[in-house]
């Protein structure tokens, strides 16, 4: 048994712009409630997510990176012991162009049942993706409220 969520959104943008939005800290900050990722986005490179107050939220490693189509991140929470103890999750982002629309699929999974980490991220992804879609399509995110 595993725990898995699949999120899909269609955005009126190009795969290149979407890739840039997913990997550029200044861009990310605008739709990810002030959170940024640090990495050089190359396979085997370290990756981490930094909260607006400077704390490290999650760490991991880039497993696959195929610009602008596919990004796989080994991902573990760092500041909640219960989540950290579950070990690494895997987050796969796939970008596919469909006409003038770009499809973004995010699969976040771990090979244990009822994962608390997957449950914890499940509240965040829909809001982040709605914000990302709005930012890419209109130039403005829906909400800039920072995470606690």
């Amino acid at each position: 048994m595993s725990s898995r969520f699949v999120y899909v959104t269609y955005i009126r943008t190009t795969p290149e712009k979407l890739w840039e939005a997913l990997t550029t800290p200044t861009f990310m900050k605008r739709y990810w409630y002030g959170v940024v990722a640090e990495s050089d986005w190359k396979p085997a490179s370290p990756w981490k997510l930094i909260l607006p107050d400077g704390r490290t939220a999650d760490t991991g490693e880039i497993l696959e990176a195929e610009q602008p189509k596919r990004l796989v991140i080994k991902w573990r929470n760092e500041f909640r012991p219960q989540l950290k103890a579950e070990g690494y999750t895997r987050c796969t982002m796939e970008i596919a162009q469909e006409g003038d629309i770009t499809k973004l699929s995010i699969v976040h999974e771990i090979d244990i049942p009822d994962s608390k980490t997957i449950e914890a991220v499940s509240g965040g992804w829909p809001r982040i993706l709605s914000n990302l879609k709005s930012l890419l399509e209109t130039g403005e995110p829906l909400s800039t409220t920072k995470v606690a």
């Binding site: 269609y10 829909p126 709605s130 209109t138 409220t145």
Partner: protein, 118 residues
């Protein structure tokens, strides 16, 4: 809310509302909310609907992007994709209301005795 790309947005919202406007489809979403990633057989189990009907409803939910699917081994698993519903919520609920709504929801949960969620 700017309406750039509005035709796509409005069209897809129409599809989402239409997909949600059916009790059987909402029941299927409830099942996926309870346990995400089920195949057709699991979703049919215990429902008073034919396999064909469930399959048809799932296709409508998938077309509206409220359900996404993945092939895992031999089976096709269905996942509740909350992103389009969240887009709708964000559109009208707005950033300023969220905090207050969460307080109200929490109050309701406490009063109704469902405080085992967190």
């Amino acid at each position: 809310m700017q309406l750039n790309g509005c035709i796509l947005d409005l069209m897809s919202m129409d599809v989402v509302f239409r997909a949600l406007a059916d009790e059987s489809r909402r029941a299927l979403l409830d099942r996926l909310f309870e346990r995400n990633g089920q195949n057709l057989g699991e979703l049919c189990d215990g429902l008073r609907m034919t396999r064909q009907a469930v399959s048809k409803h799932l296709a409508i939910l998938e077309a509206a992007n409220i359900v996404s699917t993945r092939k895992v081994g031999r089976s096709k698993l269905h996942f509740l994709n909350p992103v389009p519903i969240n887009d709708i919520a964000e559109r009208w609920i707005g950033k300023f209301e969220r905090g207050r709504l969460e307080v109200l929801r929490e109050l309701k949960r406490q009063l109704e005795g469902h405080n085992d969620e967190q």
